[in-house]
Symmetry: D2
Subunit: 261 residues, 4 copies
């Protein structure tokens, strides 16, 4: 099998979402198991020490670094919708991206991508004006930064329209609705925990580019990267299982945008 024909995928996780005295299960431990790490920037989670440690660990493991900015809502972990104006969103993101980028320079790595977190991410997927506000922040800091966006979202299309690199994302551990959006966390079954189901989903996403919605609808999402949440103690074993299954199927695991070896 030639390298050209060999399928490849990126695994990403949201990491470094502790704060001060507080750590989350999984966090840095999953670094060796991902290709791209989305690092919390201090607004919904994260502080200068967690960012520093995460960028350092990413470098050590050859993992690509992205910024994972969120709403300024530490106590709500950025999961509560806030009615910010577009200028507020853009400037909040410029600030957070710049903060993480400085740690990249400190450790001699390159900031690669940006993925909005939680309620901000949900809004940016659905609302073109919020998507534009996110895109404006990314483009104004560095137009070579990629945007991670769920496949088919407003964020994907607005980022493409602005000429930014885009990585289409699919979720391994979140249930999909038939319209391609995620089942909200507050609803039952929103988060998948079953290892077998998650591995099967990963294989289907890489082989066929599709994922099943909760009603059985086959969604064609054609992902560049697969996300699994890094903030639980199940993250490491699940990511290990996914990696093993993909590699045994001959899938190359490497950061999106990276050349084949």
């Amino acid at each position: 099998m030639s390298e050209r024909a060999r399928p490849a995928i990126d695994l990403n996780a949201d990491l470094a979402e502790g704060f001060g005295r507080y750590a989350l299960e999984g966090d840095i431990a999953v670094m060796p198991l991902v290709d791209s790490a989305n690092i919390a920037c201090g607004f919904h989670a994260g502080d200068p020490r967690t960012i520093d440690a995460a960028v350092s660990a990413a470098k050590r493991h050859g993992v690509r670094v992205g910024a994972h900015p969120g709403f300024p809502d530490l106590v709500g972990f950025g999961r509560r919708m806030m009615a910010l104006g577009t200028h507020e969103i853009t400037t909040d993101l410029v600030y957070q991206i710049g903060a993480v980028d400085a740690f990249c320079r400190r450790h001699g790595v390159r900031l690669r991508h940006v993925k909005p977190h939680g309620a901000l991410g949900n809004l940016a997927w659905q609302d073109p004006s919020v998507a534009d506000a996110v895109v404006a922040a990314v483009a104004s800091v560095d137009p070579e930064l990629a945007v991670l966006a769920i496949s088919g979202s407003a964020l994907e299309s607005r980022a493409r329209a602005a000429g930014l690199p885009v990585a289409r994302e699919a979720y391994l551990d979140r249930a999909y609705r038939a319209d391609g959006t995620l089942v909200p966390r507050a609803e039952p079954g929103a988060v998948l925990h079953d290892e077998h189901a998650i591995v099967e989903r990963a294989l289907e996403l890489v082989r066929h580019g599709t994922v099943r919605a909760v009603d059985g609808t086959v969604l064609d999402v054609g992902p560049d990267t697969l996300c699994l949440h890094g903030d639980t103690d199940m993250a490491a074993p699940l990511l290990s299982a996914v990696r093993t299954a993909l590699e045994s199927e001959g899938v190359a695991l490497r950061a999106f945008g990276d050349p084949a070896d």
Copy 2:
């Protein structure tokens, strides 16, 4: 008189120290009156909107932009001593410098310098280990960034030892003690308000490089830049008076490190 012989000095002020709904007198209004602006980074003051507006105004007026990071103490305005470890100081500064730098990239200007604020500045002037922590942050983000340090301080010597550009700073509106340190704010007479005294001090600093301590001691401080606080409604008239007096004496006002026209 040849350009070579013409004396030159830089005027700097700490700006953009509002937060959200709150503005401080003077702030952006003094931008046209300074050569270098030290912009609050969000820990002791400042938020993404104030930083954005300040960098934009600096660009418009051709003012050099510096980061003015402080302790994470918004309610205390960064004026209360905090016993942070050196790693905490370094990482807090990397974060803040990066945040402001991203706004510089957004507006197409270059971040030029870093000046620690308030209690952190005082510590960095006096304590070599704190000075080293500040220097480590600056050097790791960008070794071309200059450090603004009060003349004769530990911060000046440690920044020089690390090979960073240094701008020696003298204060126009703060009383000096005979050892070259500032009279603490809590003591009477710590802040000068008299326009005549401030203008005379500016002239003496540029002509002779000296300033008088409260006991009459003549301190040889040889400044590259003169600081006047930007957070009061007196900042604009005082800076105007200083500029007028210096220019009428033939002093060139330009950012430290900038070439003569």
Copy 3:
């Protein structure tokens, strides 16, 4: 004219909305001009020093003290909608009410009422489930606390249903829509600045219990208290003008719920 027949009204203002180094115009200066003061509790504005000073000033001037809790959004001044759950709202309010109440005990005055701030207030006026969350907080801390609620709002009706004392509020400086809600701040004409118009509105509210909406609709709001915003430099002269006009018409100015002299 017997005292029984003499009309009476309460003037209230939202006060002590500074934070740390930051003060707002008007704030404590307007204390002698109101009968009831709504004191910011530290989430959208206010800190332990501003609360302490405000309660002390209220006591000195014989002004009734209320808590003015808001969303946990200091940088947004509590004016941005946040999608909090009802348990989050209730507990956020219990916390804030308790904090202000402790300063009342410290100064030997009684906490009298609670008025939700900004975006939280708007939600509580319109959404019965949010109103219930506010009412639950008030009732669980002290069922003798009154709720300040705009006339005809969900907050008014839910507070009455829970058996809490209610003071119906009308605004002197905010435009009304025909349905009795306020014109949002983002729209032109939302805030009234004209002294004559404000005084006339006050007189109509006391004489007839009515206020004109922007389309001319006469709203029957029957207020117990009239609010004028305390956070601008116009607050003091406007409140003075209103007091003078009301007193010259024989209106008694006293805190709602207080007995006539």
Copy 4:
């Protein structure tokens, strides 16, 4: 053995020190194992939901509730010294005590005591002016509140001088220096982990009122209450072992100040 002669002691722990999405091991789980709970108030840790849940759990288990206020330093968990003025300390504590007290009223229990946290506690033990600032806060909110203070500290003596109830505290899991102060956390051996040593210390403290310093000095501390830190996963098994050992020796475990059954 008559009840009069039966020795009694109180076990206390610092609890509810999570924040938002973050929990600490041990926390609420240790509630059934203590007699008095010191509840974080939101400045160094804790939020309205953690406080609500902790007070509710304390009520359910018949545990006495105290406030555990700290410095306004969430990212540093209140363990970093801050140079606050005494008015700042007093008002910060009034605020925090009031916040927790409101949750006590909500759940129909009585706030019993106050214990300053971390760096603030250390300062209050050593510096009489800080101790006075703490005492002023407690006394001004409710002079029936007890102060928990390490035996022989400035806080103990200043609280007694002010007429406040005092509970003398000894630590089960912290090493003592010969002068009766604790070995700082940064030093090796500062925290005891060995179950046998901790149980032996508890027995000696109850039988003889003494504890051994690291150099062997016997300190006469005569405690009313014994503290074991609640924020690790060892807290529950260690507290269980201590309770079992004390009860098997005939020691009555009950909140300080409570009457014998």
